[in-house]
């Protein structure tokens, strides 16, 4: 094999008294794609941040071209050809695409910015990524996937020998993932060393040359990716047998609890009608941008919407999210970082925020809150120190906390948007079991997901959305991946009378 370009040897990392990485070794070779997998909180992001100079190691060495180096900052690492794309977006939301890509390395002509040159380069880079965001669009107006592409374009601009990507595909659709993977292969063939994490093991299997598996802050397996199949990877990660990812479906559903007719969310969705029954899990499939999130945000009073909504037979008007909760309807956001959790606050304050009324007569009952947190930590297997601010929890544990928070307010109708984004496979299984149990307890559940397998495996019934409309409904065995894709792309015959054919 070639000489390694970048390696960690015996690296440990502590936050305060707690050690989260214990003597990690990892070796990256030029021209190879290396996947790092592990459970939530296993230490993948921390390892990557150390490799890319965002965080120092507490002990151990970083070897660049075989020589020990100290990466004093991310700027230092970038100067040495190491770029990292974070699990969370690292973009200046108010700046344009082009300004973001060239941030800190603006092209100049004399004292002035060379706008045309930067625009042209930006367009080039994005075209390579099959992304059609205009260079002068403000980043905050972009979709998640476009933002991810901008992040990648930013890294591509820098002459990168080592590209580190922390869950780059978590927010991408399958098509977008394919584009990204193609780009990664190009980079690899040019000799770049690529390190990435993903909780989607099929992706790992498809693209990784080398594989490292971490559990609880230590490397438990490393070697050629071809040595393990997906099932073995999952077992090595979780440390136990993982089978039957999805719980058995329900056989009995109750009466209709939610009836939506002619719901429209201006600019995003039109004429949405469906019913939801007690004890049922309704899956919502569709491409990113098909208006799934917006439809349900509209329903939950988070955006202006029109249409008739009945809950348990009674017509209701929902203009604000708190009204939705009063009617027992709750929407769990897909965007845990900016809409779901207060990143600067601790777990307790986050957990009880939505159900605070349960903990306050006149005064807040903090010991009851603490007890609720104990319960949530146990129920949802949240790993991380209790006193840590939520922004420092690993991504998957944040998601579990968000879930726990929503459940605490005890809604009857729950809309869960991307329930397992960034969650490891063992936890996914737990989550699915949990969602199913909620349904069995008589709650009605809507699951919006971009992961086709998840929608199919979890739902009793699937609605497919396309361009802001319901393109069709699929039940039972008819809900196949193929059928969903056809409806989502507009090439299929709908099972129910459809509004548009192509």
């Amino acid at each position: 094999m070639t000489t390694p370009v970048l390696a960690l040897s015996g690296v440990s990392r502590s936050f305060g008294p707690i050690e989260v990485l214990h003597g990690v070794d990892i070796t990256l070779h030029p021209g190879r794609v290396h996947a790092l997998i592990g459970e939530n909180g296993a230490g993948k992001s921390t390892t990557m941040k150390i490799l890319a100079g965002y965080q120092p190691a507490s002990s151990g060495v970083i070897l660049l071209d075989g020589q020990p180096v100290t990466l004093s900052s991310m700027g230092d690492a970038e100067a040495r050809g190491i770029s990292m794309i974070h699990q969370e977006f690292n973009l200046a939301e108010q700046l344009t695409v082009e300004q973001n890509i060239f941030l800190g390395r603006e092209l100049k002509r004399g004292p002035f910015l060379d706008k045309p040159a930067m625009q042209a380069t930006t367009r080039d880079l994005l075209a390579r990524l099959d992304c059609h965001a205009a260079p002068d669009r403000v980043v905050s107006s972009l979709s998640n996937s476009d933002k991810q592409m901008v992040e990648i374009a930013k890294a591509l601009l820098r002459d990168t020998r080592v590209l580190v990507m922390d869950e780059p595909t978590a927010v991408l659709t399958q098509t977008e993932t394919a584009v990204l993977m193609a780009q990664v292969r190009v980079l690899r063939d040019q000799g770049t060393a690529v390190l990435f994490t993903s909780h989607k093991l099929d992706e790992v299997k498809a693209i990784a040359d080398d594989l490292t598996i971490m559990r609880d802050g230590a490397v438990v397996w490393t070697g050629p990716a071809s040595d393990l199949d997906e099932h073995q990877m999952a077992e090595a990660m979780v440390g136990r047998e993982v089978s039957d990812l999805y719980p058995p479906k329900s056989t009995t559903v109750g009466e209709v609890v939610l009836q939506v007719s002619g719901l429209s969310v201006p600019g995003f969705a039109e004429d949405i009608s469906f019913t939801l029954r007690k004890g049922e899990i309704l899956g919502i499939a569709g491409l990113i941008g098909s208006g799934r999130t917006e439809t349900f945000e509209g329903l939950a009073g988070l955006r202006p919407a029109k249409g008739a909504v009945r809950i348990k037979g009674r017509p209701v008007t929902i203009r604000h999210p708190w009204q939705a909760l009063d009617h027992g309807l709750c929407y769990l956001t897909e965007d845990r970082k900016t809409r779901g959790l207060l990143l600067q606050k601790g777990m307790r304050d986050n957990l009880t925020l939505q159900a605070l009324h349960k903990f306050s007569q006149v005064f807040l009952n903090k010991s009851a809150e603490d007890a609720a947190l104990d319960q949530a930590i146990a129920d949802f297997d949240i790993r991380g120190s209790r006193s840590v601010i939520v922004g420092n929890l690993s991504g998957g544990n944040q998601q579990k906390l968000l879930f726990a928070k929503t459940m605490l307010s005890d809604p009857d109708i729950i809309v869960i948007d991307e329930p397992t984004r960034g969650i490891d496979i063992g936890t996914k299984q737990q989550m699915y079991g949990f969602i199913r149990r909620l349904a069995e307890q008589g709650r009605a559940i809507v699951v919006i997901s971009s992961e086709m397998q998840e929608v199919i495996g979890l739902s009793d019934r699937v609605l497919v959305m396309r361009r802001g409309r319901i393109a069709g409904e699929l039940t039972g065995d008819a809900a196949s991946e193929d059928a969903i894709v056809r409806l989502a792309m507009g090439v299929g015959q709908a099972a129910t009378p459809d509004k548009e054919f192509v």
């Binding site: 936050f15 305060g16 008294p17 707690i18 988070l302 604000h320 999210p321 708190w322 939705a324 909760l325 709750c330 929407y331 956001t333 900016t338 809409r339 779901g340 959790l341 207060l342 990143l343 600067q344 606050k345 601790g346 304050d349 925020l353 939505q354 605070l356 009324h357 903990f359 306050s360 006149v362 005064f363 807040l364 903090k366 120190s385 209790r386 006193s387 840590v388 601010i389 922004g391 420092n392 928070k405 307010s409």
Partner: protein, 328 residues
């Protein structure tokens, strides 16, 4: 479980910092002038702190919820003017006595409430930046009081003033009313912030109003309430203030808003919102008042430099705050 999120040294600094500054100031004052720790001077300092302090407690909630109110100084002047005007008008029919004073107090509280409500509604209903709205209302109230006073000074009827004066100068067990009211406001404020859903909601909205909204918090209502509460507290402060001088003019309450905001920030509340502490605000107010007091008691430094020293302390407080931020 151990504290790993909060780097011990830095957070300590955020908590200890203001207290330490206060202790140092007191020690300096005591060293410079033997009268400094005398009962008279202490009550004087506390009574002077009371007006700004009462307002600053309200401001703590506004800032914690991610807002700002620049209008409180002018609002106090306007409320004082209106109060004096109404009391003078009612005097011939009601005569000097408790009823007319109660009427004046009701007017002050009512006017404060309405003024806060107007600010709050403009900010929450129309979605205009708090800075802009209150910059506007600051100008409006200031010019209203000038207009009410016809460019001069509105004075409370002399007889009534003598009758009303005990509200500032009198008290219980040798402690004057403003101090007592200030203390009550602080205790209630601290409890409200620390131990009620309202306080928690303010902090949540200030740290990320989107998250609060998605968590079914009634964001607009909580925000509105912080401005209304601040308005009412401006009314309370004015009730204490009017008997002191018995007059109001366009110079009344000048720069109070800045002193109140400064006290809040010195006390460790985060200017961008998301975290507030009422007791810190009290310390902030005391620090600001003490600086003036010490400069007056010694001829070491010119009292004209009061503003400069206060300014330096404000900047220092923010520097400390930044260091105690988690993450970096």
């Amino acid at each position: 479980m151990s504290d790993i999120a909060k780097p011990p040294r830095q957070i300590q600094m955020g908590v200890i910092g203001p207290i330490l500054a206060l202790v140092i100031l007191v020690a300096m004052g005591a060293a410079m002038n033997p009268n400094f720790l005398g009962w008279d001077n202490i009550t004087n300092v506390l009574a002077r702190s009371a007006f700004i302090g009462i307002i600053a407690v309200g401001m703590t909630f506004v800032i914690t919820a991610g807002g700002l109110d620049l209008s409180v100084g002018s609002m106090a002047a306007f409320v004082a003017g209106l109060m004096i005007l109404v009391m003078n008008k009612a005097l011939p029919t009601m005569g000097v006595g408790v009823p007319v004073v109660l009427l004046g107090m009701a007017v002050a509280l009512g006017a404060g409430l309405v003024a806060g409500l107007v600010n709050g509604l403009l900010i929450t209903r129309l979605g205009i930046e708090a800075f802009i709205v209150t910059l506007g209302s600051m100008g409006i109230y200031r010019s209203l009081v000038t207009w009410l006073a016809d460019g001069g000074t509105l004075s409370l009827d002399f007889g009534l003033r003598t009758f009303y004066q005990p509200v500032y100068y009198g008290g219980l067990f040798g402690i004057s009313w403003p101090i007592i009211v200030f203390a009550v406001v602080v205790v209630l404020g601290e409890i409200l912030m620390r131990s009620t859903a309202f306080g928690r909601h303010c902090a949540a909205i200030g740290s990320n109003d989107q998250v609060a909204r998605y968590s079914s918090v009634r964001v607009a209502r909580v925000r509105l309430l912080t401005y209304v509460m601040l308005g009412v507290l401006v009314g309370v402060a004015t009730i204490m203030y009017v008997p002191r001088l018995g007059s109001a003019s366009s110079a009344t309450g000048l720069l109070w808003e800045l002193e109140a905001i400064a006290a809040v920030i010195i006390g460790g509340t985060v200017l961008k919102g998301g975290f507030g502490r009422v007791w810190g605000t009290v310390i902030g107010v005391l620090i600001l008042t003490l600086i003036g007091n010490i400069l007056n008691l010694t001829d070491f430094v010119s009292p004209y430099l009061n503003g400069a020293i206060q300014g330096a302390i404000i900047v220092l407080a923010v520097v400390l705050q930044r260091e105690s931020k988690p993450g970096h």
